[in-house]
Symmetry: C2
């Protein structure tokens, strides 16, 4: 069968190894828009200046902020800065800037490096810190060259530097960071990360300032969850657009498949520990029959049974219309937003901590249960007893390093499926309870009830997470991150510290801002201890994006109105889209196009 | 926060419901190539004529074929037909043709309908059969209009007609099919399906011929598994290209993510019950550190332990190079290709059948085990006892409707993960067994061994299947299916029956063929009964595609050489690719471009 051409194809297959697929090679050449203020008269990239706006960021606990960040406050006063085009940028040279990735990967990290490299130019040096904050502590740096930037531009992942989740907290760690800064004569550290990492950046900035070391610390807002966002100053963090578009492609495909095979309900758990923004965006992109939004469930104080009842009702109403398939979206963090589950977990953590040794000594699971149940409140005991066996077992046996229940490991979608199956069969055995003209009952004829009894429920469960974090960035994320890099580099060159780079007005050329990190940090009590953190931006049930979902979801539940946004396109008419929730909540005219400046191919000439 | 534009975006979001995302709307307008022989002098689509080639398809059991399909044989003589351009196509009118989808969805089904509609033209009628073979039996038909074709063209899924898996076998079912044909005055039935469905098509063709009913029965080769293929006459079935490209996108993303987060091994099970073609194609697209190929494992008579040892060795060699992450591909059907597992399942099925009532009566799993173990061979008993608890429980308790072990439900990726974890910890406790200079041992210094002992194994498991079946077809699948529709319609208009539409020479304009179905069917013994089926096309370990994988996999195992083929592009420089295994095995010069004729937008004027 081997023809004359096989040798050629063979060579090509081998050559594509190591990130040189035809797609990857073509992607590297894709142009990136650049806001006009970053361009010199002859069209070259140059740093911007910053001027103070009249906006002061004051978080909930402003007096506490002043206590914790006295030096930063004295310098920045929590004022938002806005970038302006520099008429004649000073010829800065010899600056040494290092950058690290922190936490889970998000699409566009490599373009942050490209932006930094482009704005620092040939006269300053950019260093990469290997494997995240741990590398900063260890001083594991290497110089990033122009040719390596050409190699990574527009590619996904954080693999050029690696990442980790170390939190810099102890005195010793801060001293090690200082050591790294001094030894490497760094003028700037760029921390690419989420809320925890940007909180870290604020503390490092304050620490270096206190130590009298002139080194800018600048944060860059990254998280696929979209919960690093600051109203109209920073509509979203980078990585959200790409991740939600990967998930929307797959959910759209599953909806199409469900309608084709006409037998499955696909339960899709979507990554996102806290905010349900990913789920809301994917729902607006794909119109599934159900999408659970954690924030709404907490606000309405819904129980697990309420949620199960709602899903079973939708499934039954669809059956009455002859539809026995669909897609149900479940946010990963759901369990912690169900008030009664939250209570149960809190009580369990308390019992497990107080009687740790006793419980450990009991030989069987049954013994442990006999010991734990009397120590819970009656409501929590009843709830725990009603959970599927594996979930109960997991709650009792699996603990994290602090001895707490591993909430993130709870297989929420399987918990729901099991409880829904039970309720669906109950509905068949006791139809009079569920069908009728009473409140909350479903109105159906005896024939319809008989038909429904004959229908079986087939389910499939999915978890979408890792496959969306390291995809090649969408055109939007590619531009957003490149511009964040240009902004962060400009902030270092301008000698600013304790800021987070930010961009807004994605629909009209982009507006470049710097947000004072200290102004974003609030004081929270967590397990009885004060924790200073950047507040997460959650789904607001009063926001335009939630309202549009709320107004339409009943139709999407009762009919098959899904749409498939397709795979992310990097060429062609649909390749310039924005996240729908951003477009809605920011009041843009359109989600089909963004405008972040003039498109140009990155070169280093 | 609601701005002036939100109303506009809101309207757009609502308008996209019901398959009108910007992507879906743009996709409908994408041009499709049409082979020149289907074009009239003035560029309109017209049916082709067919001439006999000198190729006769003779399967393994030719005499049996002659017995089973005497009428079809008398008519077709198992000769392959080739399409030729019709100089002056006869003006055929009033023909009534019906089409159905059978089995799991595959991308491009809707374009088959578009091709049929285009070639039948305004003077003949096309009917859709609802919900697969069941709809043919029940006579559930509706006329497909031009406007509905404009709505579904280039969209994924089978949802316009639906599908099911009914096999038409009984006398009564065949009579019901005749009834449908006669009542609806059908001149042709097009069956879009896999090996079973095309076998069905052959039997229906023979039956109708025997009954003296002039109605063409034509099959169309569909299956994402790629196992409906006939050497150089039909290099692949439709849907394979799209499904493997969706899976390759996700595997590429996971590889990128693994290299970024630097801690996980992702075990990815890929759909495909029998052939490992999907796994081979995805491996050539992405270069994972390991890809298991079932056909090779069967050929080499590898045991479960051999496979586990191999994976642990690769993981350890990577650790020696400082790599502690990667992607491992596992074909869904693997278990049945491991000879010892196959034996165990066979023995278990035998015991479960013979002692069904005894086993059912035993109250606990332990009792059942005590009963079953002495009745297995020692080897099988030992193997079963070494399996993880849940797998053993599943083997004993879960049966299909025939009382057999549900092989397809075995969570192979989890079985492997569990056994690998065990072996990795054994390697830490007994390093002398695994490290050293002996055969099969790993050569490492004492320091390296200590380092390896400190590394933990984190795994994630994934199953990729449903998300790839109903995606929008790739440019290749969109063209392939449209042309298959044109071919099948032409065969009906030419009064041919018992053929499968086929296309080959994807690299040079396309060559249109018709393969005699009876010539593809062989006689197999399954559970002691003769079964007449189309032989599945499996991975051949002598094929160029397997050889290139074999030559390169060691490098891909020892270094991180993955590549990410990206999401399927429908516009731009990478949107015209072919499956790599097809390009290799057919001896094409290239996998970056196909040539199936002149691109044109479908219109019905």
């Amino acid at each position: 069968m081997e023809g004359k051409g096989a040798a050629g194809v063979k060579t090509k297959v081998v050559q594509t190894a190591g990130k040189h697929s035809p797609f990857e090679d073509a992607s590297r050449g894709l142009p990136i828009p650049v806001c006009r203020i970053f361009l010199s008269d002859d069209g070259k990239i140059q740093p911007v200046d910053f001027k103070e706006t009249d906006v002061k960021l004051e978080c909930r606990d402003y007096t506490r902020t002043m206590q914790v960040f006295p030096r930063t406050m004295a310098r920045n006063n929590c004022i938002v800065l806005e970038a302006v085009r520099s008429a004649s940028p000073p010829d800065i040279e010899g600056k040494r800037v290092a950058v690290l990735f922190s936490g889970g990967p998000a699409a566009g990290g490599h373009n942050v490096l490209a932006g930094l490299k482009a704005v620092l130019g040939k006269k300053n040096s950019l260093f990469g810190i290997r494997k995240g904050p741990k590398g900063l502590i260890k001083g594991d740096l290497f110089e990033i060259t122009e040719s390596s930037v050409q190699e990574i531009i527009n590619t996904g992942g954080f693999d050029f530097l690696g990442t980790d989740r170390t939190k810099i907290k102890s005195r010793e760690q801060f001293e090690q960071v200082r050591e790294t800064v001094v030894r490497n004569k760094l003028d700037g550290i760029i921390i690419v990360g989420g809320d925890d990492s940007n909180t870290n950046a604020a503390f490092i900035a304050e620490y270096l300032e206190t130590e009298g070391i002139e080194c800018s610390v600048i944060g860059i807002p990254k998280t696929i969850d979209g919960d690093m966002a600051v109203g109209s100053y920073l509509p979203i963090s980078f990585g959200f657009d790409t991740a939600t578009k990967v998930y929307s492609e797959l959910v759209g495909n599953l909806a199409q498949d469900a309608a084709s095979a006409v037998k499955y309900y696909h339960f899709v758990k979507l990554m996102g520990r806290t905010a349900s923004k990913i789920t809301l965006e994917v729902a607006l992109q794909t119109k599934p029959c159900i999408a659970l939004i954690s924030e709404e469930i907490a606000e309405k104080n819904m129980s697990l049974d309420d949620i199960v009842d709602h899903i079973v009702k939708v499934i039954t109403l669809r059956r009455l219309k002859g539809i026995n398939h669909g897609v149900i979206l479940v946010p990963e963090g759901l369990v912690e937003f169900i008030p009664e589950m939250r209570r149960l977990i809190k009580e369990l953590n308390h019992v497990l901590a107080e009687y740790e040794a006793d419980i450990r000594d009991l030989p069987t699971l049954k013994n442990k249960q006999e010991f734990i149940y009397p120590r819970l409140s009656a409501q929590s005991a009843q709830l725990m007893a009603s959970l599927p066996e594996e979930i109960e077992e997991m709650l009792i046996l699996d603990r994290d390093e602090h001895g707490n229940v591993k909430v993130s490991q709870i297989e929420t979608e399987k918990l729901l499926i099991e409880k829904i199956r039970y309720k669906v069969s109950e509905l068949k055995r006791h139809p009079h309870k569920y069908f009728g003209k009473g409140e909350g009952q479903i109105d159906a004829t005896p024939e319809e009830i008989e038909t429904i009894k004959g229908i079986s429920l087939s389910t499939q469960s999915h978890f979408l997470g890792y496959e969306g974090r390291s995809a090649k960035p969408t055109a939007f994320d590619a531009a957003f991150t490149f511009l964040l890099g240009l902004t962060a580099g400009s902030l270092v060159l301008a000698g600013k510290t304790g800021y987070m780079a930010a961009i807004t007005d994605f629909d009209k050329g982009g507006r470049i801002l710097a947000l004072p990190l200290a102004g974003l940090i609030t004081s929270e009590l967590r397990k009885g201890k004060e924790e200073l953190v950047i507040e997460k931006s959650l789904v607001e049930t009063t926001s335009p994006s939630f309202k549009i979902f709320e107004e339409n979801r009943e139709r999407w539940a009762e009919e098959d109105l899904f749409s498939n946004p397709g795979p992310i396109q990097h060429w062609g008419p649909t390749s310039r889209q924005l996240p729908i929730i951003v477009s809605l909540d920011q009041g843009y005219d359109d989600f089909l196009h963004f405008d972040l400046g003039e498109e140009r191919k990155l070169t280093f000439d």
